[in-house]
């Protein structure tokens, strides 16, 4: 069957199991959009307000579903608008396939209208990218892109298709979808060394990252923790891998992690890191990080082993397989002293919680926790609200937390929430701040036109809270450009876009508003007024060690 390049793109996307693409049309993708028009019954296209929104939506689509996200943009500005979304996906190992149009091959290199070397631009922020200059290779390039995006440590792949390649024709035949490239199987010696360290440990800490999500089943992790009597902590990306209400689960550790989780990690004699990269936000000063522990590091990416912190045992290979083998070989044991110590950390942490009728971040999130169903996706933007969400949100199933970790992309949330809601068909709550929301609020239009069930909880403190917090702590309260002084009426704004809006200035108002908003099928927004001086605590200052941890406000006033 002879097809045009554009037809090949549509047919190959469908062949690869893609049901939804996010994008924005333009001059050099008109041919692709013509085929999307003709195939609208086979492939759903979600028109976003801006290409950045499309890239975040494709990212959120994966995080909530585990399926590769796809976004499409035209050449030049369309393509460059994807860049932040692609970089976000790269730093969080999210498989997305981005397809961009480009000027016809004979105009390449001539600074033609809307011409950009997008493969050059995205070289350092993609797992791999392709410039297709031969239509006969197009189908296989798309297949390889999907395969590569999913294989090993996942990541974004970009395919740049000049307009004449979209028009050119060649023979096309569907092919069966190939399984991802096989991961290396970890060698037995490294498994045995890990088992030996785990068996002799008395204070084990299982440390879950994004690489554990999808690779390890929740029940297997919990059963293993039970078997070796370990506690479980996680990175931002590891949140929702195990249910937050499990007594062994201490929550996120690191710069803004739970007190108990960070303390337990620092006092553990063994850390089993699964799919983590020991990022600076997680470790603080690596010279002082977890000095009492043997580190066993399990990762599908060999380059992560010993990259940021040295591991006593590095296990390179398929995480699912290696984890199962370790779990099977370890001896059952009990560590009552360790559990008692950790319980003290937890008690100390919980003694800091207090009840107040004020609209505090914790109150807001507790109300959300009490209202939402187990399958609800929680998406966030980046900043204080993100850390509060990471600290206080309850998760009962994997892939329910959608947040930009590595790149820390303000403006990520709304697009990602829409992608997550459309992909998972689950209700999605976006927790955002007025700073982040302001960056890409144009995607309200997308939420309304698609009817995406996104409840936006806007933590409105009138400041760029996280930067302000640092200015308070490290810059003598010089609030340089972090006080927004905007006159935006977010309720009117949401209504202008066609969404339903609520305002909450105290807890009772919020409880009422959230119940109503959550019950509405389409997008809603609740503008919540919170205090500008709320802090995210605890806090491990950048480059600090566990002893530098700021636990409560009273320490700041010293």
């Amino acid at each position: 069957m002879k097809l045009t390049g554009s037809q090949i793109i549509i047919e190959t996307l469908i062949e690869q199991g893609c049901d939804t693409v996010f994008g924005y049309p333009g001059g050099q993708v008109l041919n692709i959009y013509d085929e999307l028009y003709k195939n609208s019954d086979r492939l759903n296209h979600v028109l976003t307000a801006h290409e950045q929104g499309a890239s975040h939506a494709a990212d959120g689509y994966f995080r909530a579903t585990g399926k590769v996200g796809v976004c499409i943009a035209t050449s030049g500005p369309g393509a460059t608008n994807l860049v932040t979304g692609i970089a976000t996906a790269m730093l969080d190992s999210v498989p997305i396939v981005a397809i961009t149009g480009n000027v016809p091959c004979n105009l390449i290199g001539r600074d033609s209208f809307q011409e950009i070397d997008i493969t050059g631009v995205t070289l350092p922020i993609t797992k791999h990218n392709y410039f297709v200059n031969d239509v006969t290779q197009l189908a296989d390039v798309i297949r390889e892109a999907f395969r590569l995006a999913k294989s090993g440590r996942p990541g974004p792949v970009l395919i740049d298709v000049p307009k004449d390649i979209q028009i050119a024709t060649c023979e096309f035949e569907n092919k069966p979808v190939e399984a991802p490239f096989e991961n290396k199987i970890a060698d037995e010696a490294s498994i045995d060394s890990a088992v030996e360290l785990i068996n002799k440990s008395k204070r084990p800490y299982i440390y879950l990252g994004g690489g554990a999500m999808g690779a390890c089943k929740t029940e297997d992790i919990l059963a293993f923790a039970e078997k070796i009597d370990a506690v479980i902590g996680c990175t931002l990306m590891g949140l929702s891998a195990v249910p937050t209400d499990n007594p062994r689960f201490l929550g996120m550790q690191g710069m803004h992690g739970h007190y108990a989780s960070s303390m337990a990690q620092n006092n553990a004699d063994l850390i089993l890191g699964i799919g983590v990269r020991f990022s600076d936000r997680a470790t603080g000063n690596t010279a002082k990080y977890a000095k009492k522990a043997n580190i066993v590091h399990l990762d599908v990416d060999f380059a992560e082993i010993n990259k940021n912190v040295p591991a006593q045992v590095g296990i390179y290979g398929d995480v699912k397989d290696a984890f199962a083998r370790i779990a099977a070989k370890c001896e059952k044991k009990e560590n009552p002293e360790w559990i008692a110590t950790v319980n003290e950390y937890v008690a100390k942490e919980e003694s800091r919680y207090y009840t107040t009728p004020k609209l505090t971040p914790k109150n807001l999130i507790d109300t959300i926790n009490d209202t939402v169903t187990d399958d609800t996706v929680i998406a966030t933007d980046v900043g204080q609200h993100q850390m509060w969400a990471a600290q206080y949100c309850n998760f009962r199933a994997p892939r329910k937390f959608v947040s930009s970790g590595g790149l820390g992309t303000m403006g990520f949330g709304l697009g990602a929430a829409i992608g997550a809601a459309i992909g998972s068909r689950c209700k999605t709550v976006l927790i955002t701040g007025d700073g982040s929301f302001g960056m890409n609020l144009n995607e309200m239009a997308t939420a309304v036109s698609t009817g995406a069930p996104v409840t936006i909880v806007l933590f409105n403190n009138g400041v760029l809270g996280m930067v302000r917090q640092w200015q308070t702590l490290f810059f003598n309260k010089h609030y340089s450009n972090t006080t927004l002084e905007r006159k935006t009426d977010y309720c009117k704004l949401a209504e202008a876009f066609g969404a339903t809006a609520f305002k909450a200035e105290n807890l009772a108002e919020f409880e009422d508003a959230f119940k109503k908003a959550y019950a509405i099928d389409g997008p809603t927004l609740i503008d919540c007024t919170i205090d500008e001086d709320e802090f995210v605590l605890p806090m491990l200052p950048p480059g600090g060690a566990i002893d530098d941890m700021i636990v409560g406000l009273e320490e700041l006033q010293k």
Partner: protein, 168 residues
């Protein structure tokens, strides 16, 4: 040219458009500062071989090798240990042709087993091949005679013995 802590890595890459850029872009992104890089054909038409020389500690070396191996178009990455491999570099050096010093230059050329490949009344053009330290030494000797122009290829290296890195 030859430095302390220097190591040499051979990289087989797919012979495709843009692969060299992918490799060098990774160096920039990861903050590797390389000393020299050569690239050319190999025994297999499918692959080009890049020889990279870099200075750094063991950590930098491992990171460099690991990050190279992660690139999709990279087929093989191996370190060439100095004890088990031979290194060669070629330099072309244009030196001022002065009757007063000509004989001295020609003696040095002969001792270093290099050769004069172009002769004009004003200049001698010398070709020298060898390991980088030999070339360094020769350049030092030529400096007093006034080097007009000079270029070096960078290091090429191959393992001793009958093996092929590609099949290792």
């Amino acid at each position: 040219m030859s430095k302390k802590n220097q190591f040499t890595i051979a990289v087989y890459v797919e012979n495709k458009f843009g692969v060299l850029t992918r490799v060098t872009s990774m160096f920039t992104r990861r903050g590797f500062n390389i000393d020299c890089l050569t690239v050319g054909e190999t025994e297999s038409p499918e692959y080009s071989r890049i020889t990279i020389t870099m200075s750094g500690d063991g950590y930098a070396k491992t990171q460099m090798i690991n990050q190279l191996r992660k690139l999709f178009n990279v087929k093989k990455v191996e370190e060439l240990e100095p004890e088990t491999s031979v290194n060669r570099e070629l330099a072309l050096i244009k030196v001022k042709n002065d009757p007063a010093t000509r004989q001295e230059i020609m003696s040095a050329v002969s001792i270093f087993r290099s050769s004069i490949i172009d002769y004009s009344p004003a200049a001698l053009c010398i070709e020298i091949t060898g390991d980088p330290s030999k070339i360094d030494a020769f350049i030092e000797i030529m400096k007093p005679f006034e080097i007009i122009e000079m270029c070096r290829t960078g290091i090429l290296a191959i393992e001793r013995g009958a093996g092929s890195l590609l099949n290792k």
